[in-house]
Amino acid sequence: MTTKLPPPRPKDPTKRTRLPTRPPGNRSREAHGLTAMAAAGRFALQTCADCGTVQYPPRQVCGNCLGDRLQWRDVSDGGRLLAETTLAHSNDLFFRDRLPWRLGVVHADAGPSMVAHLAEDCIAGARVRLALSIDRAGNAVVTARPEHPTPNPEDDRQLREMTFDPKDRRVLIVDGKTELGLALVRAFAGAGARQVYVGHAQPWRRSPHLDAAREIDAATLFPLDVTDTDSVEELAATIGDKVEILVNNAYHLRMGGAVGRMDLNTAHDEMAIHYHGLLRLAGHFGPVMRARGADGAHGAAAWVNLLSAYAWANNPALGTYSASQAAALSLSHCLRAELAEGGVRVVNAFLGPIEDEWHQLAPPPKLDPAAAARRIVAGLKAGVEDIPIGAVAEEILARRAENPKEIERGIGL
């Protein structure tokens, strides 16, 4: 069983906050193939199309037959831990801060042997389950967990560096007034978040969802309007140095495209919330979160953007909405690069139409907000970077990977 982390205590104001450091960062282009697989939560390795040999680490030509037709394939994630060791010394600043650190060599069922970061309960000689995780530098690394889960995996000191379990962390849900916002508050509170800060704009508009969120023990409500710079600044000044997971779920969905309904005011409102809103949050919450990336076992960990799957491919029925989501997606990549300096990870969840009042005319299948929220929490626990949620998002992602021109023309799903 994993040693339980001591619950977070109020911070000692006389102690210096440890500055964030990053594990070694440079990877080859081939190695970033692993990053792509890790980002999607897949355990996939290069496989030679000629001789079938599974490769690790990634390379340009097959280590067995020198063939250059190496393809990324999902492979068995089983393996056996051959040997393990505990680092007591490191010249790398990141690991020096975190010693001792356990590593091991795993013989993967897929073929290769690989060095892996070990969960506490991995025992030499025993079976393990492998995963590709993303480390604090944003690169894929191999992690190993016991084949059969043991108690308290969320407390694993080493693996918490690569995942974002909400347990004992303080979470900001930017908009608590929607079905999805309430579902997120419930999901994070249910996952053991120590505090769930819930933002709400336009206090004169009532929301049964906010009323329900108010009743949740871990929840505290704060005024927050992402279209208002002063409002974002004010909340960041109030709780910015406590937020360890920020969930930006503010959205503004209206039907219409560029020709059939050219409405700049609506387009402006979409950009004000999806793009400028994200920018305001980034400008005011980003610096302090980045500085707290190494603030103990419960330091700032992740920034989650809830985006539409139409950020990938414009749906003309929601033309300006899709465009504003694409702008937010692009900005999230900027944010990812900047927050990576503090070891804080940007996670994007991509949603298809959800079951809410604004998607009334969208044809099924529509996402249940509670299921979407659970999927986001599960993605954080697993440490993935991109989370397509629901059939529509998964289909768009798959078709876009296959043929971007086809999805561009046939988005009318």
Binding site: W204, R205, T227, D228, D230, S231, H268
Partner: protein
């Protein structure tokens, strides 16, 4: 008139303002991010709220200057409603902020104190009978006057209380439909002003003619002046209101700095 002539009409005015018995009362709300705008169903077109972004503050963006960009709808905070704002006034001559004769921006004001009624009933409607009673005390409303409805509503600094919304909409005081017609036809007012977010009562969308103050005032070339403050500092008659909207081409209104000149 020469510079030294202190006997002219304006010289008297200036001397009065400079401590000679004329007070200048600010009737204007502060424009900031909290200033409420009218709440409409979310699927309708929405007026932008007041927002401000710094251009520079004596820093790398402008070492010697502090200034801002701001954005808002035309009908934000204390503002002027021009006749073109309503469909009933869309074809009138001189109906927009750039074409209204500027002399109309300076007018006498009659202030009807409804603060007790509004405190007792947020849906209070000002009626012809109530204004007739006011006239019995203060004299008939002179032609080309503003009628300003004092409710002390502007003292509600919390936007939620100010807008006073429930599932049937907003609950704020305003004029009765018959009064609006009477003020136009019988008293030739220049317009109607009040302290709530709009010149019509909060529940006016449910009236037989929805939004009668907008519909009739603007349909007859009259103006609106909502979201006023400090009406408690004005006498029932005798104040002069200066409320000039920005000269926006085809503007339907604009935030104003509304001032009243009051003889002490």
């Amino acid at each position: 008139m020469t510079e030294t002539d202190d006997t002219g009409l304006l010289a008297g005015l200036l001397a009065g303002i400079a401590g000679g018995g004329i007070r200048v009362v600010d009737l204007t709300m502060t424009l900031d991010r909290h200033v409420p705008t009218i709440v409409l169903p979310p699927e309708m077109g929405q007026s932008w709220p007041f927002r401000m972004e710094e251009i520079s503050r004596y820093d790398h963006r402008g070492p010697a200057t502090y200034w801002n960009n701001f954005s808002c709808g035309e009908h934000t905070g204390t503002h002027f409603d021009a006749p073109i704002h309503w469909i009933s006034g869309k074809d009138l001559p001189g109906n927009a902020t750039d074409t209204i004769p500027p002399a109309l921006f300076v007018a006498h004001a009659c202030v009807v104190d409804c603060s007790e009624e509004a405190a007792a009933d947020p849906d209070y409607l000002l009626t012809v009978d109530r204004v007739a009673a006011w006239e019995a005390e203060h004299g008939a409303i002179p032609p080309r006057s503003w009628v300003l409805m004092r409710t002390d509503w502007s003292l509600k600094s919390d936007p939620v209380q100010y807008l006073n919304m429930d599932e049937t909409g907003s609950h704020t005081p305003g004029p009765d439909a018959d009064l609006v017609a009477w003020l136009i036809e019988e008293r030739d007012v220049v317009g109607f002003g009040c302290e709530a977010v709009g010149t019509d009562a909060g529940q006016a969308q449910h009236f037989a003619v929805p939004f009668p103050c907008h519909h009739m005032m603007h349909g007859n070339g009259r103006f609106g002046l909502p979201a006023l403050t400090n009406l408690d500092q004005l006498p029932p008659t005798g104040a002069v209101v200066i409320a000039a909207p920005l000269k926006i081409r085809r503007g339907s209104g604009s935030p104003v700095r509304a001032l009243a000149l009051v003889e002490a």
